[in-house]
């Protein structure tokens, strides 16, 4: 167990204490497991609340701050948070303008956020929800829990967060969030499994020289195992998988995301290949973000998310954001 931890039971609480120390500009409620904008509630503004299992850092806590999330609720590792956290977060950040729950499409997240929405509404908070489900590796959604929410979460949180910051009302923030999700698709690849603290050994067995195509962000095996491919071949496969489902007529936002243990050096090299494929397919790229943003603990691998962005979405993407992990403009 090559982990920098004390005991598996306290990893989330330990991380929140460390986050609190590193980010005095946030309010980190370690006991109740909520990360909040220091200045919440912000008068007259819609508040975005998200959350999910831990192990995907910087998602979501690293995206809390002006221009993005008002609050994040971290669950146990790979386990959706509980309704109590979401209700507490909603109550803390609601200025009366309402709250948008950004929910990645997993059974656990969906059920817990649904319960939380009911409870928050009981407390007089206006709640809207957007489901993020961008992962094209999940096919036959009739016979599955549906597409997983992965990289597009970052796009939804950033763009809808900017709309909220501008003072857009809840219905508009919700509509934009929905539009971003509808126009976003992702595909992920694992070069290694990850190790959860609770299990202490890799979640699946991936021999050297093989890779998993179509993985999610919870250490689950993918749809298919193949002999190792080059960065260029992986880019071809991943981008084509996305483009099979999303035929953008205009420029895209591209997220070239690391799963956690893939060095930035490799990620940038992979980005060069992603850009090559997009050029070959005639897809113009408006903005590119490269880095470890939606991770899966210590998994080696990467994912590609494309979002067909209209002018409003691009403007909101470029709008100022001040969070631990995403920060530009002012």
């Amino acid at each position: 167990m090559r982990m920098l931890i004390n005991v598996p039971e306290t990893v989330v609480a330990d991380a929140l204490r460390g986050m609190a120390a590193a980010h005095p500009e946030l309010t980190v409620d370690v006991e109740h497991r909520v990360v909040l904008r220091r200045d919440a509630p912000v008068a007259g503004k819609v508040a975005l609340v998200s959350g999910g299992g831990s192990g995907h850092e910087p998602l979501h806590g690293g995206f809390v701050g002006p221009g993005m999330l008002a609050a994040a609720c971290p669950g146990e590792v790979f386990t959706s948070p509980v309704p109590d956290q979401m209700v507490r977060a909603a109550a803390a950040v609601d200025s009366g303008a309402g709250v948008l729950f950004v929910v990645k499409n997993y059974t656990g997240d969906v059920l817990n956020f649904e319960m939380a929405a009911e409870l928050a509404e009981d407390e007089g908070i206006q709640v809207a929800k957007v489901l993020v489900n961008d992962d094209v590796a999940v096919t036959d959604s009739l016979f599955t829990a549906g597409r997983r929410g992965t990289g597009a979460t970052l796009f939804v949180e950033k763009i809808a967060g900017a709309a909220a910051e501008e003072g857009a009302p809840l219905e508009r923030v919700e509509a934009i969030a929905r539009r971003v999700n509808e126009r976003s698709r992702s595909f992920g690849v694992a070069l290694s499994a990850c190790t959860t603290p609770a299990k202490g050994s890799p979640t699946f067995d991936l021999p050297e020289g093989e890779l998993e195509l179509g993985i999610g962000i919870h250490g689950e095996p993918g749809r298919e195992r193949r002999p190792m491919m080059t960065s260029g071949e992986i880019a071809d496969f991943a981008v084509d998988a996305v483009l099979e489902d999303l035929q953008p007529s205009g420029p895209v936002l591209a997220l070239v995301n690391g799963m956690g243990a893939t060095p930035l050096l490799e990620l940038y090299g992979f980005n060069a290949e992603v850009q090559r494929v997009l050029t070959e397919r005639g897809v113009p790229v408006a903005r590119t973000l490269v880095g470890n943003y939606v991770t899966s603990l210590d998994m080696a691998g990467c994912s590609v998310t494309l979002c067909e962005a209209d002018e409003e979405m691009l403007r909101l993407w470029d709008a100022p954001v001040q969070t631990p992990a995403l920060r530009w403009g002012r």
């Binding site: 299992g53 059920l111 829990a145």
Partner: protein
């Protein structure tokens, strides 16, 4: 005690204690199963949840069977998270609600209430028997409980084993498509544990 005439609050508290012990004992196995077709947290999730249930039942033991199950269900919802938290929480809460506030209940009454609870789980999760979920153990168990505790235990166990050849259509395992075949569902397995605990307590 397990009086033939009725099951009291103490019986239900004992059930949840024994269930918690079984969960602790089998946590690694549940996580292992979840690791094959899920995200390797099912054992840790239930361990955390049942520890919290034990705490709350110790602190202020509710006085009716219904209240015990409602309190336990709430606690699971507040501490487990994931898919199993709301689902098991709803199972206990809705079963408890269906039991009303009588001080003792019969096995037949429990069977009817459990059927209501299982129905709530099916509605919440949108799954049905054959989807390779906890329902594959819970549905037959609730039915067989009309007969006897032991029949329920056997039905749940059979249901859990029966998930092995199935392709998952709900929960995380469904992402794997055909690769989910050949593995036993962790939720069905934990359901069988819970029902076995019930039969064990009933057997005295």
């Amino acid at each position: 005690m397990t009086d033939i005439t009725g099951l009291d609050a103490a019986f239900f508290r004992r059930w949840l204690t024994v269930a918690g012990t079984a969960v602790d004992r089998e946590a690694d196995r549940l996580t292992e199963l979840d690791s094959a077709i899920g995200d390797a947290d099912h054992g840790a999730n239930l361990k955390r949840g049942f520890a919290a249930v034990r705490d709350v039942l110790d602190k202020e033991p509710p006085e009716t069977p219904g209240a015990v199950l409602v309190a336990a269900g709430r606690q699971l919802i507040s501490t487990v998270g994931g898919a199993s938290g709301p689902l098991y929480g709803t199972l206990l809460r809705r079963t408890g609600k269906a039991l009303g506030d009588s001080a003792t209940v019969t096995r037949e009454q429990l069977a009817a209430a459990l059927t209501a609870g299982v129905g709530a789980v099916a509605q919440l999760g949108g799954a049905q028997v054959g989807d390779k979920t906890m329902l594959d153990a819970l549905v037959p168990a609730a039915e067989a409980l009309g007969e006897s505790f032991e029949a329920a235990r056997e039905a749940a166990e059979r249901g859990a084993l029966g998930t092995v050849p199935l392709q998952a259509r709900k929960g995380r395992a469904s992402y794997l498509g055909e690769r989910s075949i050949g593995h036993q569902d962790p939720g069905a397995t934990s359901s069988a544990l819970l029902v076995a605990a019930l039969a064990e307590v009933a057997a005295g």
